[in-house]
């Protein structure tokens, strides 16, 4: 069996002393053709991972920007099967690992194993289910494992020490350290305790640690990557998609605007 792309891309990155920039895009925003285009453009920048958020009607952890994108996509009649087709078509030309961020409701509907299989077959490399804590994770971890997907678990600033270690042990691919207490969305300043949380994770896990929630500027990406292995940027990317849509831009111009922004962030941390 070939190595999982998440593991391979982190190894390659670490070998040349680089850090990961993980852009997040909302699937089907504004349409799936543009999502396919965005995947190809972002991949061409050389980012090691791309996170694809699958819209859900009732996503608890998301702030207004990502929620807004979800509701617009769902109003357009988005279907999960169409996203899988888009990813399957784009996959052969991409080097980046693809990670699906998806709510448990959507995972559970066709059955956890079936959903994981469909993800893997379409070309996803990993899965993040933000509304399953450790207690509810075994069936998802098991299904992901059987499908050859990495199941990435989240650690929060509110996570107690003993639990942090349990989550880090369960996580695969990397560990997702949530930076802020609260929902997704850009913050003017990041909390001071991120470095401390990352250090605590390093003490109990050899997996790469990526930090997400609240990160949206080149300075914040650099600061996070000074201590962690990567920074995940969601809302700031999706906001640029929204602004480009609202300005009436073509799919190509939307992709251009997003790619330019992500390139700025990526240059902060990509090794020469």
């Amino acid at each position: 069996m070939t190595q999982n792309r998440i593991d391979a891309n982190f190894q390659a990155l670490q070998a040349r002393g680089g850090k990961a920039l993980v852009p997040y895009v909302t699937a089907g925003y504004p349409d799936l053709a543009t999502t396919g285009l965005l995947l190809r453009r972002l991949d061409a920048l050389g980012v090691p991972l791309i996170e694809i958020g699958i819209p859900f009607s009732d996503s608890i952890a998301d702030g207004p920007v990502i929620q807004g994108s979800f509701h617009r996509v769902l109003a357009g009649g988005f279907r999960v099967a169409d996203l899988f087709a888009t990813v399957r078509a784009a996959r052969p030309g991409l080097s980046a690992a693809l990670v699906a961020m998806v709510s448990m409701s959507l995972v559970r509907r066709p059955g956890v194993s079936e959903f994981a299989q469909r993800c893997a077959e379409s070309g996803f490399d990993g899965l993040i289910v933000p509304d399953i804590p450790l207690e509810e994770s075994p069936e998802v971890l098991d299904a992901a494992h059987k499908a050859g997907l990495r199941c990435i678990m989240l650690v929060a600033p509110t996570t107690p020490d003993a639990r942090r270690e349990q989550i880090a042990r369960a996580s695969e691919g990397f560990v997702y350290q949530v930076a802020v207490r609260g929902i997704t969305g850009e913050r003017d300043a990041l909390p001071d305790d991120i470095a401390e949380f990352v250090r605590a994770l390093r003490a109990v896990s050899r997996l790469p640690v990526c930090v997400g929630f609240g990160i949206g500027t080149p300075q914040q990406v650099r600061a996070v990557c000074d201590v962690a292995d990567g920074a995940i940027v969601g809302t700031a990317v999706v906001r640029r998609i929204s602004e480009a849509i609202d300005a009436g831009h073509s799919p190509d111009a939307i992709a251009e605007s997003v790619t330019q922004f992500v390139d700025e962030l990526w240059k902060e941390v990509a090794a020469a």
């Binding site: 702030g63 409701s105 509907r109 989240l154 509110t158």
Partner: protein, 413 residues
């Protein structure tokens, strides 16, 4: 509890239902499907509640407020004229409509406010649909001097101006929610989002037997005073347990509170009545247990009205309090185990029952329990006259008169 001979001696306390287990499972249902950021808060709440649950002083204090502030016990009334009209089983009404703030909701909010104080928190938040739980939470906040924020769908804020003003009078800040369908489910999402950032000083007073464990257990326990009193009252009146308990189900808190103390009495049939809206076949309804599928919503695994992808479907009912696409996990458990049965009453049936109860008994019910009455209109005539039905009349209809007038084609300005 069974030894109490007078309803004035009935005490509040945990429901002895054998579920959920330590992980919050009612059979296959329930659980804790929330982001890791909330797990610390959910665990702290569980610890605090388990301690309170075993502390008689906690329940004694709750009883003090239930009696001297909320007006408990609520009467069990024999509806003689309704019984005669329907010509079958004897019909009793558990008068939760007579509680302070006009519904059963106050039983839960007083309990959770006491729990908030016990945890040393100063701020509470809540979601509300029609505004009844919001008003009951705002009332408890004023009673205990807590800061209170209530999330309410912008669409509901527009439709329920009176309740918005009531909450504001009580010193609560009402936040209109502009996301999604701008109704109850979106208000719940927004309250959860607030709680993700504020759980250090804030308790989320959830309004029904739903959400992540331990909420379904906590709310059921606080509402179980309804069934405890009913048990003593019906024994005093009839010398035996009832044959049927009938209650409306949205999230399901008034039904769970009525049913749980009878869950081990297998001679008592428990019937939940959901909102059939314009008809379960039309797609315009809120009959989750009748037409939903097992899925995940608002932190719990339960029946959910959702599409083939798992996206939550829009719901419809003339009654805003039943307009919810999920249902408490204990009801999902009772449905699958066969312990309770669930039916739907549509908007037209509920409205006719609303009118019938007003005319025959001088009691204007809320549109929510009018659904329970509507089911009894069908059930009672099929039963012998020695059978006993208890309807949980969970709220009064004052809040609904404008909507009812509109539905009946009258103009009252």
């Amino acid at each position: 509890m069974a030894s109490s001979s007078s309803v004035f001696e009935v005490e509040s306390g945990p429901a002895d239902a054998g579920v959920p287990d330590a992980r919050g499972r009612f059979g296959a249902f329930g659980g804790q499907y929330v982001p890791e950021t909330l797990m610390a808060a959910v665990h702290r709440l569980d610890e605090a509640y388990i301690a309170a649950r075993q502390d008689r002083a906690f329940w004694r204090e709750l009883d003090h407020y239930l009696r001297t502030y909320a007006g408990r016990p609520s009467p069990l009334y024999f509806a003689a004229r309704l019984t005669e009209r329907l010509g079958g089983a004897k019909i009793y009404l558990k008068r939760e409509d007579l509680n302070h703030t006009g519904a059963h909701k106050i039983n839960n909010t007083l309990g959770q406010a006491l729990l908030t104080r016990r945890m040393g928190k100063k701020r509470i938040i809540a979601e509300t649909g029609a505004g009844q739980h919001g008003v009951a939470t705002a009332t408890a906040a004023a009673c205990f001097g807590l800061e209170c924020v209530v999330y309410m769908g912008a669409e509901d804020v527009r439709r329920q101006k009176l309740n918005v003003f009531r909450m504001e009078l009580l010193g609560t800040h009402v936040v209109p929610v502009e996301t999604g369908q701008k109704t109850l489910k979106d208000a719940i999402n927004e309250a959860m989002r607030d709680w993700m950032a504020t759980s250090d000083n804030t308790h989320y007073v959830i309004g029904s037997v739903m959400g992540p464990h331990p909420f379904p257990m906590i709310v059921r326990d606080f509402q179980s005073i309804i069934g405890r009193e009913t048990r003593v009252q019906v024994l005093a009146a009839e010398g035996r347990l009832p044959d049927y308990l009938v209650a409306c189900v949205g999230g399901g808190s008034n039904a769970a509170g009525m049913f749980a103390p009878f869950a081990n009495d297998h001679s008592v049939r428990m019937i939940g009545v959901e909102a059939g809206g314009e008809g379960v076949g039309t797609g315009l309804h809120a009959a989750t247990l009748a037409a939903g599928l097992p899925g995940v919503l608002h932190g719990m695994f339960t029946y959910v009205l959702q599409d083939e992808d798992g996206q939550t479907l829009p719901v419809h009912s003339c009654s805003a309090g039943l307009d919810y696409p999920g249902v408490g996990p204990e009801h999902a458990f009772w449905k699958d185990s066969g312990r309770a049965e669930y039916h739907a009453a549509d908007d037209g049936e509920a409205l006719r029952a609303f009118t019938l109860l007003s005319e025959t008994e001088g009691i204007i019910p809320a549109l929510e329990p009018a659904h329970a009455v509507a089911h009894v209109v069908k059930l009672a005539p099929t039963l012998p006259k020695d059978r006993i039905i208890v309807i949980n009349l969970s709220g009064r209809g004052d809040k609904d008169v404008v909507e009812a007038a509109r539905l009946l084609g009258r103009h009252i300005g």
